[in-house]
């Protein structure tokens, strides 16, 4: 019990400390000099930050839409149409989950540079869609496995075409999983640093890249404030995603 409490302390203390000190008036941030909201105000006035948030949102929305389309189709294809070599195809589609992320980032950068596609928002979005496909696939497939096949059979017995049965019966039942995977893919895209780091170009700085450059140039309470916001946003999105997957 006490070991477990110590463990939780280790997990939570850094984040709590980070958030508490985002309200500290001291610029050097080590000692406590009273409450302030000035660091949050500073963030609101930051033009570069606003652009980074905008870039992150564009990338996250587009890559999530692409990955969800590809991932849901692939999940249905894998689960409902047994064919020879299915394990191989499945393994290939899940491989991005186990390869070190830096390899994915670097190899994509090589591809884009060799085909002369300028690094920017488009290349970042392509990369994000690629690593999100297996994530959508895993979640939607787990849900498909739990569905009772007799429901779709019943629709077919009553004369529905296979598309009508899928559209009218299976898809609505899959929706919680699809929505959950959309939220998760969106969050992972929003949070991604490594693939973005290697595939971004001038003018396509995303939020994590912006935080990275802030951290590199020195610790300021403004980073604490921005971090505190990011912590809450990620937690809310992933919490919602899990809640949807459980439905």
């Amino acid at each position: 019990m006490s070991a477990s409490v110590a463990n939780l302390l280790f997990l939570y203390a850094p984040i709590v400390v980070l958030m508490v000190f985002s309200f500290n008036a001291s610029r050097l941030s080590a000692g406590w000099q009273g409450l302030t909201l000035q660091w949050y105000r500073l963030l609101l006035e930051d033009e570069a930050l606003r652009l980074a948030v905008q870039n992150s949102l564009v990338v996250a929305v587009v890559s999530t839409v692409v990955a969800t389309g590809l991932g849901v189709c692939a999940a249905v294809g894998l689960e409902r149409h047994p064919f020879r070599g299915r394990e191989v195809v499945e393994g290939a589609l899940l491989l991005p989950l186990v390869i070190p992320e830096i390899m994915m980032g670097v190899s994509l950068m090589l591809l884009f540079l060799l085909v002369n596609l300028p690094l920017g928002l488009i290349t970042v979005t392509i990369g994000h869609a690629a690593f999100n496909v297996p994530i959508v696939l895993v979640i939607v497939r787990a849900r498909l496995r739990k569905l009772d096949p007799s429901l779709e059979e019943a629709a077919r017995d009553l004369g529905a075409t296979s598309w009508q049965a899928f559209r009218g019966v299976t898809l609505p039942l899959l929706m919680p999983a699809v929505a959950g995977s959309v939220l998760l893919a969106f969050t992972i895209s929003l949070d991604d640093f490594i693939v973005t780091f290697f595939t971004a170009g001038p003018g396509s700085t995303t939020l994590p890249l912006y935080v990275y450059s802030m951290v590199k140039s020195g610790v300021t309470p403004a980073i604490n404030a921005l971090s505190a916001i990011l912590v809450l946003v990620s937690m809310a999105l992933i919490g919602a995603s899990l809640a949807l997957q459980r439905r």
Binding site: L70, L108, V133, T187
Partner: protein, 303 residues
């Protein structure tokens, strides 16, 4: 086709109903996308790793093993050894920290397990970059730990932990601890408490219970946890970049350096592929152990 719906074997009937004329069509978009933007880049990297660096960066196409031989240079070998060592220490620390909490959670009444697992996972939902920054904020020379210790008079001058290998391990442990706890929890939960009690009844020492009952019976979870922590630690880039110093380079930093600073793509590619070989080796070990047990150790993922 409709007649088959009436077949008594439901599985057969479902297959018959749902197989469209070209079943591969649904898989095609994902396969094309990952083919173009995952497998082609990896193949490209493999090809480039046998090439030479062009005069102005770029690539001069040849077929040579020079880049792989170069990896064996003591200078680079040291980076590999350090990475393996730091990843191993990270894994060991995660195991020591994670096992007690996994055991504790698995032995709670079922309805309280969920909330504890959630408590373990929540910090993990935070951006990794932010979590790394949190430790920089705490550990740096003017950071929280030093400020508190100095103001309490416990130390005279600040302790320099940040930008050392210790800092990297702290950052990695903080990043990957849940990867250890979850599979361990799943393994302990399946371990019947009666077996441990039987060992106690037969006067086994604490150490004997751990070594001869608990460890062998939770082995798939132990291995899964260790692999899940070891692999990302080995390929870590951001943690050593932000929390390590110039003398604590890991493989990820070396790759980044070769591609973005030295502009030696062929050598950078060779290093990346050696890293991938190490990762696949770890996975092979994992799959072998997992295959040995009846129920897959990854079962917790689908819960």
């Amino acid at each position: 086709m409709n007649l088959e719906v009436l077949s008594p074997d439901r599985r057969v009937s479902v297959r018959a109903v749902l197989v469209p004329r070209r079943p591969g069509l649904l898989l095609l978009p994902a396969l094309v996308w990952l083919g173009l933007f995952f497998f082609v880049p990896l193949a490209l990297m493999l090809a480039i790793s046998f090439a030479w660096r062009g005069t102005y960066g770029g690539v001069e196409w040849t077929l040579s093993l020079a880049n792989y031989v170069n990896v064996l240079d003591p200078l680079y070998l040291k980076v590999f050894l350090r990475s393996v060592l730091l990843a191993a220490v990270t894994t060991a620390v995660c195991l020591v920290l994670g096992f007690p909490i996994a055991y504790y959670i698995a032995r709670l009444p079922a309805r309280r397990q969920g909330i504890w697992l959630l408590l373990v996972m929540i910090p993990f939902w935070t951006n990794f970059l932010v979590r790394t920054y949190a430790w920089i904020f705490i550990l740096r020379t003017e950071g929280l730990v030093n400020t508190v210790l100095i103001s309490l008079g416990l130390i005279g001058s600040p302790i320099d932990v940040l930008y050392t290998e210790t800092a990297i391990v702290i950052g990695l442990v903080y990043g990957y601890l849940p990867f250890m706890i979850l599979p361990l929890y799943a393994a302990v939960e399946r371990l019947p408490p009666s077996l441990v009690e039987a060992a106690w009844d037969l006067y086994a020492s604490r150490w004997a219970v751990l070594r001869r009952v608990i460890v062998p019976l939770t082995k798939p979870g132990l291995v899964a946890g260790c692999i899940l922590v070891f692999i990302p630690s080995l390929g870590a880039f951001m943690t050593p970049d932000l929390m390590g110093g110039a003398r604590t380079m890991m493989i990820g930093n070396l790759i980044q350096h070769e591609f973005l600073v030295a502009r030696d793509w062929p050598f950078g590619s060779a290093i990346s592929l050696v890293l991938m070989a190490l990762v696949l080796l770890g996975l092979a070990i994992y799959l072998r152990v997992e295959g040995a047990g009846k129920r897959p150790a990854t079962e917790w993922m689908s819960r």
